[in-house]
């Protein structure tokens, strides 16, 4: 598998132009998310200076918990974007997962565990189907996942009959509460979980055969195919993974939010996309999950500061759209048409 590993290495920034500090800076920026880190610190310092209590331990804890939720929701999205895919069904599966553990456990009188396993299996199958369809028929993932997301949320909503009663188990609320402690240490358990997931994702993407195959598929699908990577299997598994992660995030969100409604997942769709793209991960790679973590932290801090200054949910949405546009303009440019002829 050594060939695959080499194929997936991120291209080293070429410095054709003679010297220049700008070129060096751009090259560094392409390799490390320097701007994002600077922006994160700048926004936090600005917030701490203008808003009372932003730098307090409790507000940092809640920023971290919110960032964890956004970052975990962006887990599957990172993987798919690295592979050249895209997942529009995040919000649908989040709502599906949240509703299954809150409403359906009560309705059918099944235990939490059974409901969770059922939801995971169903989501995995639907995600796998989406990946298969995208790869086999060469259809834009956005359109296919738009459909599967609608199906997922619709099927669950039909079961709950539109009424959104029920609550999540108490331990789940404790797990996701910003005030909770992990084994007596003052860090919320969800943040610890996020750290563990971050390490696992980084190891998977950069140190395992599976991760290398994923990166190779994103970098050049045909070349990967010639290197005996079964790209269709990669697509299928990655989409299944994304759907399952979204369901799990839905379960966590049910605990965090307490009550569940059909719009619960909507903010997490654009947060997941924005976190990945702002982090600097490009369609088809290069990129990694650590960048997404930075993106999620930056966006959550920015949102918190802006809400502190009186911004509404609508403003937040406009801002996210603008930030994605700026980020793709910096990172994700295609070749010009005249170079493709």
């Amino acid at each position: 598998m050594s060939t695959v590993q080499q194929a997936a290495k991120p291209p080293v920034a070429s410095t054709r132009a003679p010297g220049g500090a700008l070129q060096t800076a751009l090259g560094l920026q392409r390799r490390y998310p320097i701007m994002q880190a600077v922006a994160l610190v700048a926004v936090f310092v600005y917030g701490a200076a203008t808003l009372d209590g932003l730098a307090s331990a409790s507000s940092i804890r809640s920023i971290l918990v919110l960032a964890s939720l956004a970052g975990l929701a962006a887990c599957g999205q990172t993987m798919l974007i690295l592979m050249g895919g895209f997942d529009m069904s995040v919000s649908g599966f989040i709502v599906g997962g949240a509703l299954v553990v809150t409403s359906l456990t009560g309705k059918y009188n099944i235990s939490f565990g059974v409901a969770l396993v059922g939801a995971i299996v169903a989501a995995g199958l639907m995600g796998a189907m989406a990946g298969q369809i995208c790869h086999r028929f060469e259809i834009q993932p956005l359109i296919v996942t738009l459909a599967t997301g609608a199906i997922a949320v619709g099927v669950v909503q039909v079961q709950t009959g539109g009424t959104l009663a029920g609550s999540s188990p108490a331990w789940l609320s404790r797990l996701t509460s910003p005030a909770a402690k992990t084994f007596g240490v003052g860090v919320p358990p969800l943040v610890v979980l996020w750290v563990v997931v971050t390490i696992a994702m980084s190891v998977f993407l950069h140190r395992t055969v599976g991760g290398r195959r994923l990166m190779a598929t994103g970098a050049n699908s045909r070349a990967a195919e010639f290197s005996l990577v079964r790209t269709r299997r990669v697509w299928t598994l990655a989409f299944a993974f994304s759907a399952v992660v979204a369901v799990l995030v839905g379960v966590l969100l049910a605990g965090f939010a307490g009550s569940v409604d059909a719009t619960l997942g909507n903010p997490y769709l654009f947060q997941s996309v924005a976190a990945v793209i702002v982090g600097g991960t490009v369609f088809g790679g290069p990129g990694d999950y650590a960048r997404t973590v930075l993106g999620a932290l930056f966006l959550t801090t920015l949102t918190t500061v802006l809400i502190g200054h009186g911004a509404s949910a609508a403003d937040q949405q406009i801002l996210y759209g603008a930030i994605i546009l700026i980020a793709v303009a910096v990172y994700g440019r295609d070749r010009a048409l005249r170079d493709r002829v």
């Binding site: 609608a150 546009l325 440019r333």
Partner: protein
């Protein structure tokens, strides 16, 4: 002397295939007619005027999504649905209070719609970023603007626009809004633009080599979609007699499903606005049939999703079969 006719496919004979190649919406047309008959049989009072008014936003949303998809290379405009709502909001909460609620609003809003579409197109060709990323960003922006400007629905009373939801003389008013995009698309056939658009959609590198200004053609396709979306904005306003930010994302899924069902290839270069109209008719009639037999309305969302999946898979399989036959 009997000559054995070779049958190529087990399920699709060459004739059927050839027919579908020329009329890619053939399948949707047959389905739409069957559904229409089923609807007329099950519902004794099939009120054409109201039905057409309810159908109009969906139909126009589908037609508006078509030009960008035809332009190829992943061309796709997610913003059609929020843009329709945006136009409706502009009309109800800005133009009418400003005293511009008369017919003068028509050219203003059409121009704004086309400009919004053109901005999408300019960003796409200017930044050279995949259309779906750009329109996803602008989709967020438009929904945000819709929510910000109209946090609560604003009602509109006694305006000429309600004629489009009712009837103009004996003619259902919605026919005007539905047929206008179709007419514009038809008139475009008289100038070279439409041909060039299909050329760009089929293979942009070839079109570029032949001296086509590919970027301008693409921007034109998005502007055309924006123009149609503005007409859709009129249709929404006429239907609900108000401007409501809640409709901002209502037509996103159905519009794409209708386009795919209408035989427009999502890879670009094939299909047309008429197909999307027929695809939208299929979805609308199926929805109305399901309502008539009193199926839980939450199933509708599932149905849209399933229809979209079936349509894209069917369309892609058909395109592939044609490529192999060539």
């Amino acid at each position: 002397m009997a000559i054995a006719v070779p049958v190529r496919g087990a399920h699709s004979s060459p004739n059927v295939r050839k027919l579908l190649r020329t009329y890619s919406f053939g399948f949707a047309l047959v389905l739409a007619l069957a559904l229409l008959i089923a609807n007329l049989l099950t519902q004794s009072s099939f009120g054409w005027t109201e039905q057409l008014a309810t159908f109009a936003p969906l139909a126009i949303g589908a037609m508006a999504s078509t030009p960008s998809i035809i332009s190829g290379r992943g061309g796709f405009d997610l913003t059609i649905s929020p843009l329709m709502t945006f136009i409706s909001i502009l009309f109800v909460s800005w133009l009418v209070p400003a005293g511009l609620g008369g017919y003068v609003a028509i050219p203003i809003l059409l121009a704004i719609g086309a400009a919004c579409g053109a901005i999408n197109g300019l960003i796409i060709v200017g930044l050279r970023v995949p259309p779906m990323v750009v329109t996803l960003s602008t989709y967020f922006i438009f929904i945000g603007i819709d929510l910000k400007t109209t946090p609560t629905p604003v009602t509109l009373q006694g305006n000429w626009i309600s004629d489009f939801g009712g009837s103009v003389g004996p003619i259902p008013g919605a026919l005007f809004t539905i047929l206008l995009p179709l007419a514009i698309w038809g008139l475009l056939g008289l100038v070279p633009y439409k041909r060039i658009l299909y050329a760009v959609g089929s293979n942009d590198a070839t079109a570029f080599s032949s001296g086509v200004n590919v970027s301008a053609v693409r921007v034109g396709a998005y502007a055309l979609g924006g123009l149609f979306a503005a007409i859709g904005g009129f249709a929404i306003t006429a239907l609900v007699s108000s401007a409501d930010a809640g409709t901002a994302s209502s037509y996103t899924l159905v519009a794409v499903a209708a386009v795919a069902l209408g035989g427009t290839s999502l890879a670009g270069g094939r299909g047309g606005v008429l197909g999307s109209l027929i695809g939208a008719a299929c979805i609308y009639l199926l929805q109305s049939l399901l309502n008539a037999v009193q199926i839980n309305s939450t199933w509708l969302q599932v149905m849209y999703g399933v229809m979209l999946l079936i349509a894209v898979v069917f369309g892609a399989a058909l395109t592939r079969a044609q490529k192999e036959a060539r």
